[in-house]
C-alpha cells in the first residue's frame, strides 16, 4: 500500500497509566475506504487506542498517523480530518438537533455558505429531518446516537471513529444504526474505524483486529479469521468436567477449557468426531453441541477464553486500567 491510500498507520503504539500498561505495542494499517473493526472485551485497550488516534491521549511510545498526519506532532491537522462518535453521549441536551449541528460546524470552521445544505443532508441521511427543531433531551437513545453519527461526519472527515456505536441500544435500533453506517460509507467514501464487543457486529467490518489485554492477537477479514480456526467448536456437558478434560488431553490430544459452563474444544470435522467421543471418552456425557467457527471462536482460539468470560472474570488488569481511565485520562 502506498502512503496516500492509507487512512491510518500505527506503529508499536503504547500507553501506560502510571504503572499499568493499557496498550502494549499495537501496529496496524487501515486503507482508505475500509471499515475497520477493533474487537475485544471491555478493558482490552480499545478506547485507549482510539483516544490516542483521535489526539485525546498522548501515546507513551510508538507513533501513529491518521489521514496522513502524525497524531502527536500534527494534532490539529489530524483533528480537522477526523470525526468522532464517543461511547458516552456528547450532545448538548438543552439544544435542538439543529443547534447541536450548527455548533459543531462553527467549532470546525465549516464554510458558513455550505452549512445549511450540509446540515439538511446529514439529518436526512440519519432520518432526523423532522425532529431537527426538537430539543435533544426529548430524543430516544437510538435517535441521539444517530444524531451523534450525523454530527460526526458533518464536516466531511476522512476517517470516522465510532467507539461502541451501538452499545446500550436494542437490537432493532442497532441494526438500523448499521444500515446508516453502511450507507454513509457508500455515499461519503469515508474510512470507518470502530470498536465493538458485539461479535455479530464485527462481521460487518472489512477487516477486524482482535484485541486482548492491550495487544492485537489477530488481524484479518472476518472470513479469513474464521477459516484460520479451521475447526468446529464442540461443547459437551459431562458428569465430571475435570475427568473429561483430562481424558480429552490423554486420549485425543485435545486441549479443552471450561467456558460458560461447558467443556469446550476445537476439532476438525466435528460431526464425525462425536461418535468416537462417546465411544472412547470414558466419562458420561449429558449433551453435545457442534458449531461452525464464529468470531467468538476466533477470539477464544487466540485468547483461550470467550469474550464474555473475559469481561466477567473481573480481570485485574482491565479493571485497573478502567479505574485509571475514569479517574484520570479518560474525560
Amino acid at each position: 500500500m502506498t502512503e496516500s491510500t492509507l487512512a491510518i498507520e500505527v506503529n508499536d503504539l503504547r500507553k501506560s497509566f502510571d504503572e499499568v500498561e493499557a496498550v502494549r505495542g499495537v501496529s496496524f494499517e487501515v486503507a482508505a475506504g475500509e471499515v475497520f473493526g477493533f474487537l475485544g472485551p471491555n478493558g482490552a485497550g480499545k478506547t485507549t487506542t482510539i483516544n490516542m488516534l483521535c489526539t485525546l491521549a498522548k501515546p507513551t511510545a510508538g507513533s501513529a498517523r491518521v489521514a496522513g498526519h502524525d497524531v502527536v506532532r500534527e494534532r490539529d491537522d489530524v483533528r480537522r480530518h477526523i470525526g468522532l462518535v464517543f461511547q458516552d453521549p456528547t450532545l448538548d441536551g438543552y439544544l435542538t438537533a439543529e443547534q447541536n449541528l450548527r455548533l459543531h460546524a462553527e467549532l470546525y470552521g465549516v464554510d458558513p455558505a455550505l452549512v445549511p445544505g450540509r446540515m439538511r443532508q446529514v439529518l436526512e441521511m440519519v432520518g432526523l429531518s423532522e425532529r431537527r427543531e426538537a430539543t435533544v433531551m426529548t430524543f430516544s437513545g437510538g435517535m441521539r446516537r444517530r444524531l451523534e453519527i450525523a454530527r460526526g461526519f458533518l464536516h466531511s472527515p476522512r476517517v470516522l471513529f465510532l467507539d461502541e456505536p451501538t452499545i446500550g441500544l436494542d437490537p432493532q435500533t442497532r441494526s438500523s444504526i448499521w444500515r446508516y453506517i453502511a450507507l454513509l460509507q457508500e455515499r461519503e467514501e469515508i474510512t470507518i474505524f470502530m470498536t465493538t464487543h458485539y461479535m455479530d457486529e464485527a462481521e460487518f467490518c472489512d477487516r477486524i483486529a482482535i484485541m486482548d489485554q492491550g495487544q492485537i492477537v489477530a488481524l484479518d477479514t472476518p472470513e479469513a479469521l474464521k477459516a484460520q480456526v479451521g475447526a468446529d467448536r464442540v461443547r459437551i456437558q459431562t458428569e465430571d468436567d475435570d475427568a473429561a478434560i483430562a481424558a480429552l488431553a490423554g486420549r485425543f490430544d485435545l486441549e479443552a477449557t471450561i467456558s460458560e459452563g461447558a467443556v469446550t474444544f476445537f476439532v476438525s470435522s466435528g460431526e464425525e468426531f462425536v461418535p468416537r467421543l462417546f465411544a472412547e471418552l470414558g466419562v458420561a456425557i449429558r449433551s453435545v453441541s457442534v458449531s461452525r467457527p464464529t468470531l467468538d471462536d476466533v477470539f477464544m482460539s487466540h485468547t483461550g477464553t470467550t469474550i464474555r468470560d473475559a469481561e466477567e472474570s473481573g480481570n485485574k488488569h482491565a479493571n485497573r486500567v478502567m479505574m485509571q481511565m475514569m479517574t484520570g485520562g479518560r474525560r
Partner: protein, 296 residues
C-alpha cells in the same frame, strides 16, 4: 411512529453529496469558535427561565426584606437615606455575581454530561473555549443585572444615561472576573456538588465582607483588612460612588454612607478600583487557560 422503522433514503434518488472542508486553524476560526461557545451560553440561558427567576430571589430578599426590615434600626444613622437605597449598589453587584458563578458551573456540567469532549476534540485552541465561556458568563450575568437595574425607581434612584451605562460597565466587568474565577475553580473540580460547595464557601464571605451591606469606613481593624483584600470590594465601591453621585444627599449623609475605599488613608480612585477587578479577572482567566491546557 416507530423511530427505528423510518425508511432509508434511496441512494440513487438523492442529490449530490455536499462536501465541506475544515480549514487549517487560524485566528478567524478561533474567533468563530469563541463566538459559538459564547452563543451557546446565551441560548441556554434564554431557554432556562427557572434559572433566571431563581437567581433573582436572593438579591431581592436582601434588597427588600433585609433593607426594609433593618430600616427601623438604621434610620437614625443614615441621615434620612433609605437603607434600600444604600444597599442597592451592593445588590447590583451580587446579582451579577451569583449568575456568573452559575455560568462557570456549566463547565462542570459539560464535563459530567460529556459535552466537553465535543469541544475538546475540535481543531481549536482550548483557550478559545475558556474565553468564550467567560464572555458568555459575563453577558448572561449582565442580563440578570439589567433586570435589577429596572428596580432603581423602587429604591429612589433616578435614571440617567450615565447611570445606566456606568452600572452596565461595572456589571460586565465584575461578571467577567467572577466567571473567570468560577471557570478557574471549575477546571479543577470534577463534581458538581463539590463545585457548589466551594462556591458557597467563597461567594458568601466575599459578599458579606465586601461592604455591600455596610459603609467601609471606621471598621474594626480585622474587618477593614479583610474588606480591603476582598476583590468584590473594588466592584461594590465604584458602583456605590456611581449610584450616589446621582442622588441628592446632604454632605453628612454622603460622608457616612459613601466614604470610599482607602489604602492607608489614601482614597482609591474608582478607575483604579475597576482596574483591580479587571486585572484579577485577566489573571484568573490566564490561570484557567493554563490549567485547562495542562489537563489531558
Amino acid at each position: 411512529m416507530s423511530v427505528t422503522e423510518q425508511a432509508l433514503p434511496a441512494t440513487g434518488a438523492m442529490t449530490e453529496v455536499i462536501r465541506v472542508r475544515v480549514p487549517p486553524r487560524s485566528w478567524r476560526s478561533e474567533l468563530r469558535a469563541m463566538k459559538i461557545v459564547w452563543r451557546r451560553e446565551l441560548i441556554r440561558f434564554r431557554n432556562d427561565r427557572i434559572r433566571i427567576v431563581t437567581a433573582l430571589v436572593q438579591p431581592l430578599l436582601f434588597l427588600f426584606v433585609l433593607g426594609s426590615g433593618l430600616q427601623q434600626l438604621s434610620s437614625a444613622s443614615t441621615d434620612g437615606v433609605d437603607l434600600k437605597t444604600f444597599i442597592y449598589p451592593g445588590i447590583l453587584c451580587i446579582a451579577v455575581m451569583f449568575t456568573a458563578m452559575f455560568s462557570a458551573a456549566s463547565i462542570v456540567w459539560d464535563r459530567e454530561f460529556g459535552f466537553m469532549r465535543e469541544m475538546l476534540v475540535a481543531p481549536i485552541r482550548r483557550s478559545s473555549i475558556v474565553i468564550g465561556k467567560c464572555l458568555g458568563g459575563a453577558t448572561v450575568a449582565s442580563f440578570q443585572g439589567v433586570i435589577l437595574l429596572c428596580l432603581a425607581w423602587a429604591v429612589h434612584v433616578p435614571y440617567s444615561v450615565t447611570l445606566v451605562l456606568g452600572i452596565l460597565a461595572i456589571q460586565l466587568l465584575l461578571a467577567f472576573s467572577i466567571t473567570a474565577f468560577g471557570v478557574m475553580v471549575a477546571v479543577r473540580i470534577k463534581q458538581m456538588t463539590a463545585f457548589m460547595g466551594v462556591m458557597q464557601m467563597v461567594v458568601m464571605p466575599m459578599f458579606f465582607i465586601s461592604g455591600a451591606l455596610f459603609p467601609v469606613a471606621n471598621l474594626p481593624g480585622w474587618l477593614a483588612f479583610l474588606n480591603r483584600i476582598d476583590p468584590l470590594t473594588y466592584a461594590v465601591d465604584p458602583m456605590r460612588r456611581l449610584v450616589f453621585s446621582h442622588l441628592d444627599l446632604s454632605a453628612a449623609a454622603r460622608r457616612t454612607l459613601d466614604p470610599g475605599v482607602t489604602w492607608w488613608g489614601w482614597h482609591v480612585p474608582a478607575l483604579l478600583e475597576a482596574a483591580v477587578v479587571l486585572a484579577l479577572g485577566l489573571a484568573m482567566l490566564g490561570i484557567a487557560i493554563w490549567e485547562f491546557n495542562a489537563s489531558e
